[in-house]
């Protein structure tokens, strides 16, 4: 397992150098340096409002939808500057899947929710779509619950079911990287476990970046962990190391719950 410092270019997914972000006057990300590796699960932890969501929304440039956002610094995905105007943001986002903090299914049927991604990318074949839908729903541990009502409206699902639907929707386009913003915060332990297992499974092919509040979860599933505080990266290390032997006093305070 490569260490955080090794940085061999081949396995690098994201290279962040001196990234800064402002919401209007508010400096939400401050001089972020972070390298994210292939086929790893990278966890981002930190107290509420520290910029975790902001950071991962920057990775697929979703953060630019907020008006008055200003970004400065370097951020490369697979060696390519994501802010390069010749790099279509749609192409970037096709490769970067995202699961949000609040479930946000489309106001459509369960089937159409999953099929949306493949469809916009030109997959029309009914049979292929059916297969994708089933596979994705299985992947998100939702298939058994909804297989008989694929045509029902997605808003009839419970909160947890909706979130799993959003995960399935994201899996349907088989991205390269998957960003997850507290994907399990609305899920019960069983679904959470399934998702966690799934994440372990997926990391063989995909790189996963996950924001979580659940430190056990971070410890259980991630290979590397970054600790954010107040818009800064305080510590970034192998998960084992970070949890067992944090280099920074503030990290230690946070993970032991002494912080605040």
């Amino acid at each position: 397992m490569p260490t955080a410092e090794s940085g061999e270019a081949k396995g690098v997914v994201y290279e962040t150098k001196d990234l800064n972000l402002w919401y209007g006057e508010h400096h939400a990300l401050k001089h972020i340096h972070l390298t994210i590796y292939e086929n790893k699960v990278t966890a981002i932890i930190g107290p509420s409002g520290c910029g975790k969501s902001t950071y991962i929304k920057t990775l697929n440039r979703m953060v630019e939808l907020v008006p008055n956002v200003r970004i400065a610094g370097h951020l490369a995905y697979r060696g390519r500057n994501i802010f390069d105007p010749s790099y279509p943001v749609e192409q970037l986002r096709t490769q970067i899947g995202m699961v949000f903090q609040k479930p946000n299914p489309f106001p459509k049927s369960i089937y159409d929710n999953i099929a949306y991604g493949p469809r916009i990318h030109g997959i029309r074949n009914k049979k292929v779509l059916d297969e994708i839908v089933e596979k994705s729903l299985r992947g998100a541990a939702l298939w058994d619950e909804v297989k008989d009502r694929l045509r029902d409206h997605a808003y009839g699902l419970s909160g947890g079911q909706q979130q799993r639907l959003c995960i399935a929707r994201c899996l349907a386009i088989e991205p390269d990287v998957i960003l997850m913003d507290e994907p399990t915060s609305a899920l019960d332990p069983i679904s959470t476990l399934k998702i966690e297992e799934l994440i372990q499974e997926l990391k063989k092919q995909y790189s996963i970046i996950i924001v979580t509040h659940n430190m056990q979860q971070a410890a259980r599933i991630s290979d590397k962990t970054a600790f954010f505080l107040n818009g800064e990266v305080i510590e970034y290390a192998e998960t084992n190391k970070l949890f067992s032997n944090p280099a920074d006093r503030r990290t230690e305070d946070y993970i032991t719950g002494r912080f605040g």
Binding site: P88, Q91, P118, H121, G122
Partner: protein, 289 residues
Amino acid sequence: MDKLLVSKRMKGRLVQNAILQAIFFFATVLGLIALMLLLSHVVMQAIGWLDGDFLNNFPSRRPEEAGMKSGLIGSLWLMMIVAPVSFILGVGTAIYLEEYALKNRFTAFIQTNISNLTGVPSIVFGLLGLTIFVRELGLGRSVLAAGLTMSLLVFPVIVVAAQEAIRAVPQQLREASYAMGATKWQTICRVVLPAALPGMLTGAILALSRAVGETAPLVVLGIPTFIAYLPSGVLDTFTVMPLQIYNWTGRPQEEFQHVAAAGIVVLLGFLIMMNSVAVLIRNKFQKRF
């Protein structure tokens, strides 16, 4: 999914997006071009005729002396009736339909009825107003009679717009309010209405804009065109700008065409000022959820 296929298609999709964006933009601009064309045409004609005297004079047979004062003030009076009456009527109906009405046939009937009213020609409203307000209620050819007639004509637009706006307020917000022990009415007044206000104001803008420019129903009511005095109350007779414009455009003398153009410019100025109040409020409240 086939990565190669996806990136191959990407170019087409981006081009499609760009082309349609351009088309959408052009369509938006098209409306504005039409507006500009119309405005420039009117303004060119109005130049030299639109001055302080024009705003300060009463109508006259002599084009140089003809003015808009009674029409301008009359339209202002009319709007002072139409704005509150149609807004209350429209928003009240919308609240009833969205928040209180059971989803039964009667509600569906009212709903159909309201959209149907938007299609009833204004002149028929004129006939209605003449029978009911002018004659039965004995209001005469007054500001009040015309204002009520006009309110009935335009309020359905507010209903439809307000309904859509109310429907768009997320249910979670209502739930939060109910959970605090708020009554339904409190929830409506303090949560739903403020959140729905922008949409309602769009309706109000469209409705009032129409009310300002309508001619036909007022002709039927018998609202006079020539008036050389100002109303001092809602029961007085009055005249409005579109009636005067209508009169001027029909006159044989070329000069009156310019007077009419000046009248149109004044009317549009009035309209823009009226709308900008609503637009300001709307912008203040517009937030995406």
